[in-house]
Protein backbone atom coordinates (compact mmCIF):
# COMPACT_ATOMS: atom_id res chain seq x y z
CA UNK A 1 0.00 0.00 0.00
CA UNK A 2 1.29 3.44 -0.87
CA UNK A 3 2.38 5.44 2.12
CA UNK A 4 0.23 8.52 1.90
CA UNK A 5 2.52 10.44 4.23
CA UNK A 6 5.29 10.22 1.65
CA UNK A 7 3.07 12.12 -0.72
CA UNK A 8 1.56 14.54 1.74
CA UNK A 9 4.46 15.68 3.92
CA UNK A 10 2.20 17.42 6.49
CA UNK A 11 0.61 14.62 8.50
CA UNK A 12 -2.86 15.54 9.65
CA UNK A 13 -2.75 13.06 12.47
CA UNK A 14 -0.43 10.94 14.56
CA UNK A 15 -2.84 7.99 14.37
CA UNK A 16 -1.94 5.24 11.88
CA UNK A 17 -3.75 5.59 8.54
CA UNK A 18 -5.85 2.55 9.30
CA UNK A 19 -9.13 1.53 10.89
CA UNK A 20 -9.75 1.49 14.63
CA UNK A 21 -12.43 0.39 17.06
CA UNK A 22 -14.05 1.82 20.15
CA UNK A 23 -12.69 0.04 23.21
CA UNK A 24 -15.42 -1.70 25.22
CA UNK A 25 -14.85 -3.25 28.66
CA UNK A 26 -16.51 -6.50 27.51
CA UNK A 27 -13.74 -6.85 24.89
CA UNK A 28 -10.70 -6.05 27.13
CA UNK A 29 -9.62 -9.67 27.53
CA UNK A 30 -10.37 -10.70 23.94
CA UNK A 31 -8.17 -7.89 22.69
CA UNK A 32 -5.24 -8.76 24.93
CA UNK A 33 -5.58 -12.47 24.16
CA UNK A 34 -6.01 -12.14 20.40
CA UNK A 35 -3.86 -9.03 19.77
CA UNK A 36 -5.82 -8.18 16.61
CA UNK A 37 -4.17 -6.26 13.81
CA UNK A 38 -5.86 -2.91 14.16
CA UNK A 39 -4.80 0.70 13.66
CA UNK A 40 -5.95 2.09 16.99
CA UNK A 41 -8.48 2.04 19.78
CA UNK A 42 -10.65 4.94 20.86
CA UNK A 43 -12.12 5.54 24.32
CA UNK A 44 -14.57 8.07 25.69
CA UNK A 45 -12.55 10.26 28.00
CA UNK A 46 -15.26 10.46 30.67
CA UNK A 47 -15.38 6.67 31.13
CA UNK A 48 -11.78 6.75 32.34
CA UNK A 49 -12.12 9.66 34.74
CA UNK A 50 -12.08 7.24 37.65
CA UNK A 51 -9.33 6.78 40.22
CA UNK A 52 -8.23 3.19 39.55
CA UNK A 53 -9.44 -0.36 39.07
CA UNK A 54 -9.88 -2.56 35.99
CA UNK A 55 -10.59 0.22 33.47
CA UNK A 56 -7.17 1.79 33.96
CA UNK A 57 -5.51 -1.62 34.31
CA UNK A 58 -6.73 -2.78 30.91
CA UNK A 59 -6.41 0.54 29.13
CA UNK A 60 -2.78 0.74 30.25
CA UNK A 61 -2.06 -2.73 28.83
CA UNK A 62 -3.94 -2.07 25.59
CA UNK A 63 -2.32 1.32 25.17
CA UNK A 64 1.13 -0.37 25.38
CA UNK A 65 0.21 -2.35 22.26
CA UNK A 66 -2.00 0.01 20.22
CA UNK A 67 -2.27 3.61 19.15
CA UNK A 68 -4.95 5.47 21.12
CA UNK A 69 -7.53 8.14 20.45
CA UNK A 70 -9.25 9.83 23.39
CA UNK A 71 -12.65 11.18 22.48
CA UNK A 72 -14.42 13.54 24.87
CA UNK A 73 -18.20 13.64 25.14
CA UNK A 74 -18.70 16.00 28.08
CA UNK A 75 -16.71 19.21 27.62
CA UNK A 76 -19.70 21.13 26.24
CA UNK A 77 -17.65 23.22 23.82
CA UNK A 78 -20.84 24.59 22.26
CA UNK A 79 -22.22 25.64 25.65
CA UNK A 80 -23.04 29.16 26.81
CA UNK A 81 -21.23 28.90 30.11
CA UNK A 82 -17.48 29.01 30.63
CA UNK A 83 -15.83 25.64 30.21
CA UNK A 84 -15.82 23.53 33.36
CA UNK A 85 -12.25 23.97 34.62
CA UNK A 86 -12.42 20.87 36.80
CA UNK A 87 -13.39 18.85 33.76
CA UNK A 88 -10.60 20.35 31.70
CA UNK A 89 -8.21 19.43 34.51
CA UNK A 90 -9.49 15.84 34.50
CA UNK A 91 -8.92 15.72 30.73
CA UNK A 92 -5.40 17.02 31.15
CA UNK A 93 -4.64 14.33 33.75
CA UNK A 94 -6.01 11.62 31.46
CA UNK A 95 -4.12 12.85 28.39
CA UNK A 96 -0.90 13.20 30.37
CA UNK A 97 -1.28 9.65 31.61
CA UNK A 98 -2.04 7.95 28.29
CA UNK A 99 -0.39 10.33 25.78
CA UNK A 100 -2.94 9.51 23.05
CA UNK A 101 -2.13 10.09 19.39
CA UNK A 102 -5.38 12.04 19.05
CA UNK A 103 -7.84 13.99 21.19
CA UNK A 104 -11.24 15.03 19.90
CA UNK A 105 -14.47 16.66 21.10
CA UNK A 106 -17.81 17.74 19.65
CA UNK A 107 -19.40 20.80 18.14
CA UNK A 108 -22.24 20.51 20.65
CA UNK A 109 -23.19 21.27 24.23
CA UNK A 110 -24.16 18.91 27.02
CA UNK A 111 -24.09 21.00 30.19
CA UNK A 112 -26.19 23.97 31.20
CA UNK A 113 -26.49 25.51 34.63
CA UNK A 114 -25.74 22.76 37.13
CA UNK A 115 -26.99 19.97 34.90
CA UNK A 116 -25.21 17.53 32.64
CA UNK A 117 -27.62 16.22 29.99
CA UNK A 118 -25.50 13.37 28.59
CA UNK A 119 -26.44 14.17 25.01
CA UNK A 120 -24.81 16.17 22.23
CA UNK A 121 -27.18 19.13 21.95
CA UNK A 122 -27.29 21.58 19.05
CA UNK A 123 -26.54 25.31 19.00
CA UNK A 124 -27.64 27.91 16.45
CA UNK A 125 -24.97 28.80 13.90
CA UNK A 126 -24.59 32.50 14.68
CA UNK A 127 -21.65 34.89 15.07
CA UNK A 128 -22.14 34.75 18.84
CA UNK A 129 -21.94 30.93 18.89
CA UNK A 130 -18.92 31.06 16.61
CA UNK A 131 -17.03 33.40 18.96
CA UNK A 132 -17.90 31.29 21.98
CA UNK A 133 -16.95 27.98 20.36
CA UNK A 134 -13.64 29.44 19.19
CA UNK A 135 -12.90 30.77 22.68
CA UNK A 136 -13.67 27.36 24.16
CA UNK A 137 -11.46 25.56 21.64
CA UNK A 138 -8.61 28.05 22.25
CA UNK A 139 -8.99 27.52 25.98
CA UNK A 140 -9.04 23.73 25.56
CA UNK A 141 -6.03 23.62 23.26
CA UNK A 142 -3.99 25.85 25.52
CA UNK A 143 -4.97 23.99 28.71
CA UNK A 144 -4.18 20.62 27.12
CA UNK A 145 -1.11 21.96 25.29
CA UNK A 146 -2.12 20.17 22.10
CA UNK A 147 -4.43 20.68 19.17
CA UNK A 148 -7.77 18.93 19.12
CA UNK A 149 -10.10 17.57 16.47
CA UNK A 150 -13.66 18.91 16.40
CA UNK A 151 -16.46 16.56 15.34
CA UNK A 152 -19.34 17.65 13.11
CA UNK A 153 -22.71 16.93 14.77
CA UNK A 154 -25.75 14.85 13.88
CA UNK A 155 -28.76 17.11 14.43
CA UNK A 156 -32.53 16.73 14.40
CA UNK A 157 -33.64 20.38 14.39
CA UNK A 158 -32.46 23.62 12.84
CA UNK A 159 -32.61 27.07 14.43
CA UNK A 160 -34.39 30.07 12.95
CA UNK A 161 -31.57 32.17 14.41
CA UNK A 162 -28.82 30.46 12.37
CA UNK A 163 -27.05 32.73 9.90
CA UNK A 164 -24.31 30.31 8.82
CA UNK A 165 -24.56 26.98 7.09
CA UNK A 166 -22.91 24.23 9.07
CA UNK A 167 -19.98 23.46 6.77
CA UNK A 168 -18.98 27.15 6.51
CA UNK A 169 -19.38 27.51 10.26
CA UNK A 170 -17.02 24.58 10.85
CA UNK A 171 -14.55 25.84 8.24
CA UNK A 172 -14.46 29.20 10.01
CA UNK A 173 -13.78 27.52 13.39
CA UNK A 174 -10.89 25.56 11.85
CA UNK A 175 -9.54 28.73 10.29
CA UNK A 176 -9.73 30.74 13.53
CA UNK A 177 -8.54 28.13 16.05
CA UNK A 178 -6.21 25.89 14.06
CA UNK A 179 -8.05 22.84 15.35
CA UNK A 180 -8.43 19.78 13.16
CA UNK A 181 -11.59 17.97 12.12
CA UNK A 182 -13.04 14.67 13.11
CA UNK A 183 -15.27 14.02 10.13
CA UNK A 184 -18.15 11.82 11.25
CA UNK A 185 -19.47 10.52 7.94
CA UNK A 186 -22.50 8.96 9.60
CA UNK A 187 -23.36 12.33 11.15
CA UNK A 188 -23.01 13.95 7.73
CA UNK A 189 -25.46 11.44 6.29
CA UNK A 190 -27.90 11.65 9.22
CA UNK A 191 -27.97 15.46 9.14
CA UNK A 192 -28.21 15.50 5.33
CA UNK A 193 -31.32 13.34 5.42
CA UNK A 194 -32.79 15.17 8.41
CA UNK A 195 -32.33 18.61 6.83
CA UNK A 196 -32.44 17.69 3.13
CA UNK A 197 -28.86 18.73 2.48
CA UNK A 198 -26.52 17.34 -0.16
CA UNK A 199 -24.11 15.17 1.83
CA UNK A 200 -21.40 15.16 -0.85
CA UNK A 201 -21.54 18.93 -1.30
CA UNK A 202 -21.31 19.28 2.49
CA UNK A 203 -18.18 17.13 2.67
CA UNK A 204 -16.62 18.85 -0.32
CA UNK A 205 -17.10 22.28 1.25
CA UNK A 206 -15.31 21.35 4.50
CA UNK A 207 -11.60 22.12 4.90
CA UNK A 208 -10.68 18.50 4.22
CA UNK A 209 -6.97 19.08 4.76
CA UNK A 210 -7.81 19.48 8.45
CA UNK A 211 -9.43 16.05 8.79
CA UNK A 212 -7.41 13.93 11.21
CA UNK A 213 -9.92 11.15 11.79
CA UNK A 214 -13.15 9.75 10.40
CA UNK A 215 -16.03 8.17 12.33
CA UNK A 216 -18.38 5.61 10.85
CA UNK A 217 -21.45 4.30 12.67
CA UNK A 218 -24.97 3.02 12.24
CA UNK A 219 -28.19 4.99 12.64
CA UNK A 220 -31.81 4.27 13.58
CA UNK A 221 -34.84 5.23 11.49
CA UNK A 222 -37.68 7.47 12.68
CA UNK A 223 -40.07 9.93 11.05
CA UNK A 224 -40.89 13.56 11.82
CA UNK A 225 -44.35 15.12 12.32
CA UNK A 226 -44.91 15.23 8.55
CA UNK A 227 -43.85 11.61 8.08
CA UNK A 228 -40.50 12.57 6.56
CA UNK A 229 -37.51 10.34 7.24
CA UNK A 230 -35.71 11.32 10.47
CA UNK A 231 -32.47 9.46 11.18
CA UNK A 232 -31.16 9.04 14.71
CA UNK A 233 -27.42 8.76 15.35
CA UNK A 234 -27.78 5.68 17.56
CA UNK A 235 -24.37 3.98 17.26
CA UNK A 236 -26.43 0.83 17.63
CA UNK A 237 -26.28 -0.79 14.20
CA UNK A 238 -23.78 -1.76 11.47
CA UNK A 239 -22.59 1.02 9.15
CA UNK A 240 -25.27 1.55 6.48
CA UNK A 241 -24.59 1.07 2.74
CA UNK A 242 -25.25 4.75 2.04
CA UNK A 243 -22.67 5.72 4.65
CA UNK A 244 -20.10 3.33 3.17
CA UNK A 245 -20.68 5.01 -0.20
CA UNK A 246 -20.16 8.44 1.34
CA UNK A 247 -17.04 7.12 3.06
CA UNK A 248 -15.67 5.96 -0.31
CA UNK A 249 -16.23 9.45 -1.67
CA UNK A 250 -14.43 10.92 1.35
CA UNK A 251 -11.44 8.58 1.03
CA UNK A 252 -11.24 9.31 -2.69
CA UNK A 253 -10.82 12.97 -1.70
CA UNK A 254 -8.63 12.46 1.36
CA UNK A 255 -6.61 9.31 0.82
CA UNK A 256 -6.27 6.83 3.70
CA UNK A 257 -7.38 8.43 6.96
CA UNK A 258 -7.68 6.92 10.48
CA UNK A 259 -11.23 5.59 10.58
CA UNK A 260 -13.15 4.54 13.66
CA UNK A 261 -16.06 2.11 13.64
CA UNK A 262 -18.24 3.49 16.46
CA UNK A 263 -20.56 1.18 18.29
CA UNK A 264 -22.02 2.09 21.68
CA UNK A 265 -25.34 0.21 21.72
CA UNK A 266 -26.22 -3.44 20.92
CA UNK A 267 -22.53 -4.23 21.03
CA UNK A 268 -21.81 -7.39 19.00
CA UNK A 269 -18.90 -9.83 19.52
CA UNK A 270 -15.49 -8.31 18.86
CA UNK A 271 -15.08 -10.24 15.59
CA UNK A 272 -18.13 -8.56 14.06
CA UNK A 273 -16.67 -5.11 14.72
CA UNK A 274 -13.29 -6.23 13.46
CA UNK A 275 -14.92 -7.24 10.15
CA UNK A 276 -16.32 -3.69 9.77
CA UNK A 277 -12.86 -2.27 10.48
CA UNK A 278 -11.46 -4.56 7.76
CA UNK A 279 -14.11 -3.28 5.33
CA UNK A 280 -12.97 0.30 5.99
CA UNK A 281 -9.35 -0.71 5.40
CA UNK A 282 -10.28 -2.40 2.11
CA UNK A 283 -11.79 0.88 0.93
CA UNK A 284 -8.70 2.79 2.06
CA UNK A 285 -6.53 0.21 0.28
CA UNK A 286 -8.33 0.44 -3.06
CA UNK A 287 -9.94 3.86 -3.38
CA UNK A 288 -7.39 5.67 -1.20
CA UNK A 289 -4.42 4.19 -3.00
CA UNK A 290 -5.83 5.19 -6.41
CA UNK A 291 -6.04 8.67 -4.95
CA UNK A 292 -2.38 8.53 -3.96
CA UNK A 293 -1.30 7.35 -7.42
CA UNK A 294 -3.33 10.13 -9.00
CA UNK A 295 -1.51 12.63 -6.81
CA UNK A 296 1.87 11.18 -7.78
CA UNK A 297 1.04 11.43 -11.48
CA UNK A 298 0.12 15.06 -10.98
CA UNK A 299 3.58 15.86 -9.68
Amino acid sequence: MTNYLQIDPSPRTALPLRAGLGLKPEHFRDILDAQPSLGFFEVHAENYMVAGGPFHHYLTKIRERFALSIHGVGLSIGGEALLDRAHLERLKTLLDRYQPESFSEHLAWSSHGQNFYNDLLPAPYTDATLRRVCEHIDQTQSALKRSMLLENPATYVEFEASTWNEADFIAEIVQRTGCGLLLDVNNVFVSAVNHQRDAIAYIDSLPLAAVGEIHLAGFAEDVDAAGARLLIDSHGAPVAEAVWALYEHTIRRLGPTPTLIERDQNIPPFGVLLAEARAAERIMGTVGTRHAHALLEDV
Binding site: P54, G74, W109, H112, G113
Partner: protein, 251 residues
Protein backbone atom coordinates in the same frame (compact mmCIF):
# COMPACT_ATOMS: atom_id res chain seq x y z
CA UNK B 1 -29.91 27.57 25.62
CA UNK B 2 -31.92 27.77 28.82
CA UNK B 3 -35.03 27.52 26.66
CA UNK B 4 -33.66 24.43 24.91
CA UNK B 5 -32.40 22.80 28.11
CA UNK B 6 -35.32 23.16 30.49
CA UNK B 7 -37.96 21.09 28.68
CA UNK B 8 -35.47 18.23 28.20
CA UNK B 9 -36.17 16.95 31.71
CA UNK B 10 -39.60 18.49 32.25
CA UNK B 11 -42.25 16.78 30.10
CA UNK B 12 -44.77 19.38 31.30
CA UNK B 13 -42.99 22.21 29.49
CA UNK B 14 -43.62 22.95 25.81
CA UNK B 15 -40.65 22.54 23.46
CA UNK B 16 -38.56 25.67 22.82
CA UNK B 17 -39.50 28.20 20.17
CA UNK B 18 -37.16 29.20 17.37
CA UNK B 19 -36.74 25.69 15.96
CA UNK B 20 -37.55 24.73 12.40
CA UNK B 21 -37.61 21.82 10.00
CA UNK B 22 -36.90 21.85 6.25
CA UNK B 23 -40.42 20.61 5.44
CA UNK B 24 -42.22 22.99 7.78
CA UNK B 25 -43.26 20.10 10.03
CA UNK B 26 -43.84 20.68 13.74
CA UNK B 27 -40.34 20.80 15.27
CA UNK B 28 -41.74 19.43 18.54
CA UNK B 29 -41.51 15.89 17.13
CA UNK B 30 -37.86 16.48 16.26
CA UNK B 31 -37.08 18.10 19.62
CA UNK B 32 -38.58 14.98 21.22
CA UNK B 33 -35.56 13.03 19.92
CA UNK B 34 -33.32 15.08 22.23
CA UNK B 35 -35.73 14.67 25.13
CA UNK B 36 -35.78 10.94 24.58
CA UNK B 37 -31.99 10.67 24.17
CA UNK B 38 -31.35 12.55 27.40
CA UNK B 39 -33.85 10.69 29.54
CA UNK B 40 -33.12 7.22 28.15
CA UNK B 41 -29.35 7.69 28.46
CA UNK B 42 -29.74 8.68 32.12
CA UNK B 43 -32.08 5.74 32.80
CA UNK B 44 -29.51 3.48 31.11
CA UNK B 45 -26.74 4.94 33.26
CA UNK B 46 -28.75 4.11 36.41
CA UNK B 47 -29.56 0.64 35.05
CA UNK B 48 -25.82 0.00 34.56
CA UNK B 49 -25.08 0.92 38.16
CA UNK B 50 -28.13 -0.74 39.77
CA UNK B 51 -28.70 -4.00 37.82
CA UNK B 52 -30.02 -5.99 40.78
CA UNK B 53 -32.50 -3.26 41.77
CA UNK B 54 -33.69 -3.40 38.17
CA UNK B 55 -34.12 -7.17 38.28
CA UNK B 56 -35.92 -6.98 41.63
CA UNK B 57 -38.56 -4.51 40.43
CA UNK B 58 -38.69 -5.45 36.75
CA UNK B 59 -37.91 -3.43 33.65
CA UNK B 60 -41.08 -1.31 33.54
CA UNK B 61 -41.09 -0.32 37.20
CA UNK B 62 -37.38 0.49 37.09
CA UNK B 63 -37.93 2.66 34.03
CA UNK B 64 -40.58 4.74 35.81
CA UNK B 65 -38.55 5.08 39.01
CA UNK B 66 -35.30 5.91 37.20
CA UNK B 67 -37.03 8.39 34.89
CA UNK B 68 -38.45 10.28 37.87
CA UNK B 69 -35.06 10.31 39.57
CA UNK B 70 -33.29 11.47 36.39
CA UNK B 71 -35.75 14.32 35.86
CA UNK B 72 -35.64 15.47 39.49
CA UNK B 73 -31.93 14.88 40.07
CA UNK B 74 -30.04 15.00 36.78
CA UNK B 75 -26.27 14.49 36.91
CA UNK B 76 -24.10 17.50 37.69
CA UNK B 77 -20.91 15.93 36.30
CA UNK B 78 -20.08 14.40 32.91
CA UNK B 79 -18.47 11.45 34.72
CA UNK B 80 -21.52 9.21 34.60
CA UNK B 81 -19.86 6.24 36.32
CA UNK B 82 -20.71 8.12 39.51
CA UNK B 83 -24.24 9.14 38.62
CA UNK B 84 -26.70 7.65 41.08
CA UNK B 85 -25.19 8.46 44.45
CA UNK B 86 -28.58 9.75 45.65
CA UNK B 87 -30.62 7.01 43.98
CA UNK B 88 -30.72 4.77 47.12
CA UNK B 89 -32.21 7.62 49.18
CA UNK B 90 -34.61 8.40 46.36
CA UNK B 91 -35.74 4.75 46.35
CA UNK B 92 -36.19 4.83 50.14
CA UNK B 93 -38.70 7.65 49.66
CA UNK B 94 -40.31 6.33 46.48
CA UNK B 95 -43.81 5.45 47.62
CA UNK B 96 -44.54 2.93 44.89
CA UNK B 97 -41.58 0.87 46.15
CA UNK B 98 -42.62 0.98 49.82
CA UNK B 99 -43.66 -2.68 49.70
CA UNK B 100 -39.99 -3.61 49.05
CA UNK B 101 -38.30 -2.25 52.20
CA UNK B 102 -34.99 -3.90 51.26
CA UNK B 103 -34.75 -2.16 47.87
CA UNK B 104 -32.94 0.99 49.04
CA UNK B 105 -30.29 -1.06 50.86
CA UNK B 106 -29.73 -3.28 47.82
CA UNK B 107 -29.17 -0.01 45.91
CA UNK B 108 -26.67 1.12 48.60
CA UNK B 109 -24.81 -2.15 48.10
CA UNK B 110 -24.73 -1.68 44.31
CA UNK B 111 -23.49 1.89 44.74
CA UNK B 112 -20.72 0.63 47.03
CA UNK B 113 -19.86 -1.99 44.40
CA UNK B 114 -19.38 0.66 41.70
CA UNK B 115 -17.31 2.87 44.02
CA UNK B 116 -15.11 -0.10 44.92
CA UNK B 117 -14.76 -1.08 41.25
CA UNK B 118 -13.39 2.34 40.27
CA UNK B 119 -11.55 3.13 43.54
CA UNK B 120 -7.88 4.05 43.51
CA UNK B 121 -5.41 1.17 43.40
CA UNK B 122 -3.39 0.78 46.59
CA UNK B 123 -0.40 -1.16 47.85
CA UNK B 124 -1.78 -3.67 50.31
CA UNK B 125 -0.29 -4.34 53.73
CA UNK B 126 2.18 -7.24 53.89
CA UNK B 127 0.98 -10.02 56.23
CA UNK B 128 4.30 -9.83 58.14
CA UNK B 129 3.43 -6.33 59.32
CA UNK B 130 0.55 -7.78 61.26
CA UNK B 131 2.18 -10.99 62.42
CA UNK B 132 4.94 -9.01 64.14
CA UNK B 133 2.38 -7.06 66.09
CA UNK B 134 0.29 -10.09 67.02
CA UNK B 135 3.09 -11.22 69.37
CA UNK B 136 2.99 -7.90 71.26
CA UNK B 137 -0.50 -7.62 72.79
CA UNK B 138 0.09 -4.20 74.46
CA UNK B 139 1.09 -2.61 71.17
CA UNK B 140 -1.55 -4.51 69.24
CA UNK B 141 -4.29 -2.97 71.36
CA UNK B 142 -3.17 0.49 70.21
CA UNK B 143 -3.11 -0.47 66.54
CA UNK B 144 -5.23 1.40 64.10
CA UNK B 145 -5.96 0.00 60.64
CA UNK B 146 -5.84 1.92 57.37
CA UNK B 147 -8.21 0.55 54.77
CA UNK B 148 -7.79 0.45 50.99
CA UNK B 149 -9.85 3.05 49.07
CA UNK B 150 -12.07 0.31 47.65
CA UNK B 151 -13.24 -1.00 51.04
CA UNK B 152 -16.84 -0.34 52.08
CA UNK B 153 -18.94 -1.72 54.93
CA UNK B 154 -22.69 -1.99 54.46
CA UNK B 155 -24.95 -3.02 57.30
CA UNK B 156 -28.58 -3.66 56.64
CA UNK B 157 -31.70 -4.87 58.39
CA UNK B 158 -32.42 -6.81 55.21
CA UNK B 159 -30.91 -9.81 53.44
CA UNK B 160 -29.13 -7.66 50.87
CA UNK B 161 -26.16 -9.95 50.25
CA UNK B 162 -28.35 -13.02 49.71
CA UNK B 163 -30.59 -11.05 47.37
CA UNK B 164 -27.62 -9.65 45.47
CA UNK B 165 -25.97 -13.06 45.12
CA UNK B 166 -29.18 -14.72 43.97
CA UNK B 167 -29.38 -12.18 41.13
CA UNK B 168 -25.91 -12.88 39.78
CA UNK B 169 -27.35 -15.93 38.03
CA UNK B 170 -30.76 -17.35 37.29
CA UNK B 171 -30.89 -18.77 40.81
CA UNK B 172 -34.23 -19.04 42.60
CA UNK B 173 -34.47 -16.49 45.40
CA UNK B 174 -37.90 -17.41 46.71
CA UNK B 175 -36.27 -19.15 49.71
CA UNK B 176 -34.59 -15.94 50.94
CA UNK B 177 -36.18 -14.18 53.89
CA UNK B 178 -35.56 -10.52 52.98
CA UNK B 179 -36.13 -9.40 56.56
CA UNK B 180 -33.01 -11.21 57.85
CA UNK B 181 -30.36 -8.62 58.79
CA UNK B 182 -27.14 -8.94 56.81
CA UNK B 183 -23.86 -7.05 56.69
CA UNK B 184 -21.21 -7.12 54.02
CA UNK B 185 -17.66 -5.99 53.47
CA UNK B 186 -17.04 -4.78 49.90
CA UNK B 187 -13.42 -5.32 48.83
CA UNK B 188 -11.42 -5.36 45.60
CA UNK B 189 -8.38 -7.58 46.16
CA UNK B 190 -7.18 -7.39 42.54
CA UNK B 191 -9.43 -6.34 39.69
CA UNK B 192 -12.68 -7.93 40.83
CA UNK B 193 -14.99 -6.62 43.51
CA UNK B 194 -15.91 -9.18 46.15
CA UNK B 195 -18.74 -9.06 48.67
CA UNK B 196 -17.87 -10.78 51.94
CA UNK B 197 -20.84 -11.49 54.23
CA UNK B 198 -20.08 -10.62 57.86
CA UNK B 199 -21.73 -11.70 61.09
CA UNK B 200 -23.05 -8.98 63.38
CA UNK B 201 -20.08 -8.83 65.73
CA UNK B 202 -17.53 -8.67 62.89
CA UNK B 203 -19.54 -5.86 61.27
CA UNK B 204 -19.70 -3.97 64.60
CA UNK B 205 -15.97 -4.38 65.10
CA UNK B 206 -15.04 -3.37 61.54
CA UNK B 207 -17.37 -0.41 61.70
CA UNK B 208 -15.41 0.89 64.68
CA UNK B 209 -12.04 0.13 63.08
CA UNK B 210 -13.04 1.90 59.88
CA UNK B 211 -14.08 4.91 61.95
CA UNK B 212 -10.43 5.14 63.03
CA UNK B 213 -10.58 3.60 66.51
CA UNK B 214 -7.79 1.49 67.96
CA UNK B 215 -8.22 -2.23 68.19
CA UNK B 216 -8.82 -2.08 71.94
CA UNK B 217 -11.44 0.67 71.59
CA UNK B 218 -13.19 -1.18 68.78
CA UNK B 219 -13.23 -4.41 70.78
CA UNK B 220 -14.75 -2.65 73.78
CA UNK B 221 -17.56 -1.32 71.62
CA UNK B 222 -18.63 -4.85 70.70
CA UNK B 223 -21.22 -6.83 72.63
CA UNK B 224 -19.69 -8.92 75.42
CA UNK B 225 -21.91 -11.89 74.76
CA UNK B 226 -20.85 -12.12 71.10
CA UNK B 227 -17.22 -11.00 70.81
CA UNK B 228 -15.70 -10.68 67.33
CA UNK B 229 -13.20 -13.31 66.17
CA UNK B 230 -10.27 -10.94 65.71
CA UNK B 231 -7.90 -13.53 64.22
CA UNK B 232 -10.47 -14.52 61.58
CA UNK B 233 -11.20 -10.88 60.76
CA UNK B 234 -7.51 -10.02 60.34
CA UNK B 235 -7.00 -13.05 58.15
CA UNK B 236 -9.94 -11.97 55.99
CA UNK B 237 -8.65 -8.40 55.72
CA UNK B 238 -5.20 -9.58 54.65
CA UNK B 239 -6.52 -12.09 52.13
CA UNK B 240 -8.74 -9.52 50.47
CA UNK B 241 -6.07 -6.79 50.39
CA UNK B 242 -8.36 -4.60 52.46
CA UNK B 243 -5.55 -2.96 54.45
CA UNK B 244 -2.88 -0.54 53.33
CA UNK B 245 -1.15 0.31 56.60
CA UNK B 246 -1.08 -0.01 60.36
CA UNK B 247 -0.34 2.77 62.76
CA UNK B 248 -0.16 2.93 66.51
CA UNK B 249 -2.26 5.41 68.42
CA UNK B 250 -0.16 7.15 71.05
CA UNK B 251 -1.15 5.58 74.35
Amino acid sequence: MEAFAKPLLDPGLPPPTGLKAWNGSDPAARYAVYRNNVVISLIDALADTFPVVRQLVGEDFFHVMAREHACKHPPTSPVLAFYGQNFPDFIANFEAAASLPYLADVARLEWAYVCAFHAADAQSLAPQALSGLLSQPERLSLARLHFAPAVRLIRSRHAIVSLWQAHQSEADWSGIDPSRAESVLVVRPELSVQLIPLNGSAADFLGEMMAGRSLAEAYECCALDDPPDIAAIFSLLLQTHALTALSLIDG
